[in-house]
């Protein structure tokens, strides 16, 4: 089981309290599709992903970005057993969506960059460490049903 120090819990909870999830989610997913263009293959039904402007303005991308952040919020509320909280999501992504699990890390990295951009100097190295640990646990839980 993952162990969280009080400082880590505080850092992660603190980040969520500062974020507008309806802004971060869409921004992060759009970045993933722009910075790692091969990820667009999973979103063929989303319509126009032809260039960065189209991706940033695409309402289906935005909607899915919000879904992803709501999923992250579920992890926050179940920090002591993220593995269990993510069982069905993991099955969905592996059995139905067939997402290459490497891509979870790429999206996590984009979420981190958006959070860093929003928090500025408040995103200290310590807070970064706690946040990246949290996302690593989430990514690991998402990957679990692939094995």
């Amino acid at each position: 089981m993952v162990v969280w120090t009080d400082a880590e819990r505080a850092a992660i909870t603190g980040i969520f309290s500062k974020l507008n999830c309806d802004v971060v989610g869409p921004n992060a997913l759009a970045r993933c599709l722009i910075v790692y263009p091969w990820t667009q293959r999973y979103f063929a039904k989303f319509g126009n992903l032809y260039n960065a402007a189209a991706i940033m303005g695409n309402p289906m991308v935005a909607a899915h970005g919000k879904v992803v952040l709501r999923g992250l919020d579920k992890a926050l509320k179940n920090m002591d057993d993220i593995k269990k909280a993510y069982t069905q999501l993991s099955e969905l992504h592996s059995e139905k969506l067939h997402v290459d699990p490497d891509n979870f890390k790429l999206l996590a990295d984009c979420i981190t960059i958006v959070v860093a951009g929003q928090m500025g100097s408040a995103f200290t190295a310590e807070i970064q460490a706690a946040w990246q640990k949290f996302l690593a646990v989430v990514v690991s839980a998402l990957c679990r049903q692939y094995y």
Binding site: N27, I34, V35, A52, D102, Q118, M119, Q128, Q132
Partner: protein, 181 residues
Amino acid sequence: MAEKRRGSVADHHVTKLLGSSDTRRHSEQHSGGTMVGWTEAERRAIRYVWEKIEVDVVGPQAVASVLIVYPWTQRYFGAFGNLSSVSAILNNSKVAEHGKTVLNSLGLAVKDLDNIKSTYAKLSEFHSEEVNVDPDNFRLLADCITIVIATKLGSAFSPDVQAVWQKFLDVVVSALSREYH
């Protein structure tokens, strides 16, 4: 998993450059010395980021971040003295100096985007032969540099700019890793 990711990003850039979907063929060409292509827009974006950052601030913060977020990297800095706590690392003058050194070398690459491989040739030998750094760690430092830049630039670090900046750092990391192959 890190290796696969590095491969897919490098393959992607080469594929985009040469306009074909056969990544295996392009990997061979890439290792044979295909040059990275930069569009005018990409050059502008890299200079845009570079002009906005203070090397003496970003460098130290990024190296400190690597040592804090990925603590195993501290093994390379045994000669740097006290790294026993977050505040020790943040206040360590050798860490700060090394951060400035790293960012200054990045500045050389920014000024000569078409010759990054040769700019980094000696540094690559040094990191592999003398310092024996696991090249996966270059990517970790690159990621921390990107994150520190995101904290400084805020919304000015748009998705487009992020894409170009990460491509630039991928090329630098690849150049640094070259003497290992």
